[in-house]
């Protein structure tokens, strides 16, 4: 009897494993296929995989690149869509365990996070210095995608920021689009107050846990949370950060800000016409134009500037770049990127036409697609404007811990709004950052 039960149990276990195995046959085949193609080129072309997020943007860009590829080596590109946070989690787990199995050849990494990967896993990425002309890309992108003189990332989209503004609200308050070109934050606040008086609408939204606005402000003045080495916190004696915090507080005290707590409320606020302007990265364009009833009522003007030394009207929010993992297939992956994102000017026209993605490859940033007027923005050639600003974005080193500083500053910013002295606020943030990131 005992034996029978044991037999049944064993059979059940085997059956379970086989059941799992059946679903996995593909993967075994895939692995074998990979083994065969790794490092060699057979008749079918070398298989490379790429991970990215956002089907309408990065994934489409990869698909277009796949079509545009005309290199000598035959390549089969497999594009896999993953959420950005998921890519970060997977890369971290895999790279810290030293297992590259199942990892892609090409991966998209946000610029703010790039240095943390490059510095934490020094041998995990394949240098692209010999594959691309580094000088052909916007300066500020090179700073964040390279380490110790080696170029690791192939710069992709720009997060160049602008001030999206409602022209009809401006008119109601007695302003024209010309009045909001190249303004300062003080002027912006004054206009905001006037618009609120005339229309009853707030000027912008803010999410207290998201310091994107502060980051944009300080980069426009050419500084960051860190010194140039990317690791020494630069919070306490940073005039630009001081000015940014002051501007933030003035915005709040002028009572022209709608508070939101997540992305959908942020998008909902301007789709609903509740706010008159959106100071953010150019990637917000599709969300703005989604509300067709507002067509013709928007314009994009340069980002307001701080009143400190070195301040400009151009800055950046977000943006990401392509990286090649240092594993089998790296040469093929690097060749693919160099042939498309790294040198093909026509391909950048397609990116604008098809998905509105503005790259950072300077030779590719001209031509018809860039000059075309956008109906929604009353005929303004917003792509040409954004491209022009991209070249002027001040280069800063984002360092390894941008988001860690964000968390610290978000708390201190609230203290500042609750009347804590600004110098104390920044000094406390500085010492907290020094302890935490030591």
């Amino acid at each position: 009897m005992k034996k029978v039960v044991f037999m049944i149990l064993t059979i059940m276990m085997v059956a379970v494993l086989v059941a799992c195995g059946n679903g996995d046959e593909d993967s075994v085949d895939d692995q074998e296929a990979n083994d065969e193609t790794e490092g060699t080129t057979n008749g079918e072309g070398e298989a490379i995989t790429a991970w990215a997020w956002d089907p309408n943007f990065n994934i489409r860009a990869l698909e277009l690149a796949d079509q545009a590829y005309d290199g000598e080596v035959d390549l089969e590109l497999e594009i896999i869509e993953n959420a950005q946070d998921d890519i970060v989690q997977r890369l971290n787990t895999s790279l810290s365990s030293g297992t590259t199995q199942g990892m892609p050849n090409i991966v998209l990494i946000e610029d703010y996070r790039a240095q943390s990967f490059l510095q934490a896993y020094p041998d995990a990425f394949y240098p692209l210095t010999d594959y691309i002309d580094v000088d052909a890309f916007a300066d500020y992108k090179i700073e964040t995608t390279s380490l110790d003189g080696e170029q690791y990332g192939l710069p992709f989209d720009t997060g160049v920021a602008g001030l999206y503004i409602r022209t009809d609200y401006l008119e109601e308050a007695g302003y024209s689009v010309d009045d909001v070109q190249d303004i300062t934050w003080a002027e912006y606040i004054q206009i905001g107050v006037d618009i609120k008086e005339a229309t009853g609408n707030n000027m912008l939204t803010q999410d207290p846990s998201d310091l994107g606005l502060i980051r944009m402000m300080i980069q426009s003045a050419g500084t960051w949370y860190f010194e140039d080495d990317g690791s020494t916190p630069n919070l306490a004696n940073n005039p630009a950060l001081e000015a940014a915090m002051q501007a933030y507080r003035e915005l709040m005290e002028a009572n022209i800000v709608s508070m939101v707590s997540d992305w959908s409320q942020f998008v909902g606020a301007f789709n609903d016409g509740d706010v008159a302007s959106v100071p953010t990265g150019n990637w917000i364009t599709p969300s703005i134009t989604a509300e067709e009833s507002q067509s013709g009522n928007w314009a994009v003007v340069p980002f307001p500037k701080l009143e400190v030394e070195g301040a400009t009207n151009v800055t950046n929010l977000g943006g990401s770049s392509w990286y090649v993992l240092n594993s089998d297939g790296k040469e093929a992956a690097a060749t693919f990127l160099a042939n498309t994102f790294g040198s093909n000017e026509m391909f950048y026209q397609d990116l604008i036409d098809e998905i509105g993605a503005i790259g950072t490859y300077l030779p590719g940033m001209q031509g018809e697609a860039f000059e075309e007027g956008h109906e929604f923005f009353d005929g303004q050639s917003i792509v040409a404007d954004f491209s022009e600003w991209t070249e002027a974005i001040p280069a800063v080193n984002y360092g390894m811990h941008t988001y860690a500083i964000d968390d610290i500053l978000a708390v201190e910013l609230q203290n500042y709004l609750n009347d804590k002295e600004l110098t104390d606020v920044l000094e406390d943030a500085q010492s907290q950052a020094e302890t935490q990131l030591r």
Binding site: S27, D54, P55, A83, D86, T93, S94, V267, N271, E291
Partner: protein, 275 residues
């Protein structure tokens, strides 16, 4: 006075009910609205359900994801129940010297967060991928194998086994059943409610599990439902109506499992409290 008390308690219960049901209501309503309406916080059912579903089925392979999730959830629930109940039964019924120490160590393991063992575990699966590809990285088996013996379920079964009448075991032995025979023929049928309660919890855990499947399941064909939904929300301009319809679909199986086993679930949970 009595009536007043009644009104008060009903009011309180109604408010509590609304608070707990409202998120589900909003989820279902949003799945029938366009993305713009969802961001505006529209509370009424809309006319975009078909459109959202069409988009969903066009853009992602939700059927594969549902199948993967179902395979993982069913197998892991089955194995969890089998192994944990055997262990819990053994811990409670048999006498052995180091038993309580072993059990305490087991309970201690509940305090180690999963994130702490994730990297070593990943390494382990990476290693066995070469020798045993059927359970290595990027297989459905790898997604549930680490979760099939958890201290929680062993503890759960041990607590419930305290209610199991020992006389039945004696009776079984006298009738000539083997120890395993007693377990399968007497214990299992008697403890149906405990199994039902454990099954719901195990199924839900497995169905909703995110972190581990995220790192081990790399190819799109292996994606589970939570991974798929996570992807949907990743775009710069997410389609909230479509995401909400995906979430509604993802919630259905756990809701169904719960409704079918609700009676046993409540009885099983009561049992573990009494024990």
């Amino acid at each position: 006075m009595k009536k007043f008390k009644r009104i008060l308690s009903y009011t309180f219960l109604s408010i509590a009910t609304i608070i707990s049901i409202y998120p589900f209501f909003w989820m279902v309503v949003s799945s029938t609205n366009a993305s713009v309406d969802v961001t505006r916080g529209r509370q009424l059912p809309g006319t975009h359900l078909i459109e959202n579903l069409t988009n969903l089925f066009d853009q992602v392979n939700i059927v594969t994801a549902l199948t993967n999730s179902a395979i993982i959830a069913v197998l892991s629930t089955f194995l969890t129940l089998l192994i944990a109940s055997l262990a819990g039964y053994g811990f409670e019924m048999y006498r052995s010297r180091g038993k309580d120490i072993a059990f305490n160590i087991l309970l201690l393991s509940m305090m180690i967060p999963f994130a702490a063992i994730m990297v070593p575990l990943y390494r382990l699966f990476g290693r066995i991928s070469h020798t045993a590809p059927l359970i290595g990285l990027d297989t459905l088996a790898a997604a549930f194998l680490p979760t099939i013996t958890t201290a929680f379920f062993i503890f759960f079964f041990r607590q419930n086994t305290k209610m199991f009448p020992k006389d039945l075991i004696e009776a079984g032995r006298i009738d000539g059943l083997t120890e395993l025979g007693i377990f399968f023929r007497i214990y299992m049928p008697t403890m149906k409610t405990t199994y039902a309660a454990a099954a719901i919890i195990a199924f839900m855990n497995s169905w909703n599990n995110f972190l581990w499947p995220l790192v081990v399941l790399q190819s799109p064909g292996k994606q589970t439902i939570p991974l798929l939904i996570s992807n949907l929300g990743s775009s710069y301009s997410p389609d909230y109506g479509m995401i909400m319809s995906a979430i509604t679909i993802a919630t259905l199986p756990t809701a169904l499992v719960f409704f079918f086993m609700q009676k046993h679930f409540v009885a099983g949970m009561m049992g573990s409290v009494k024990g």
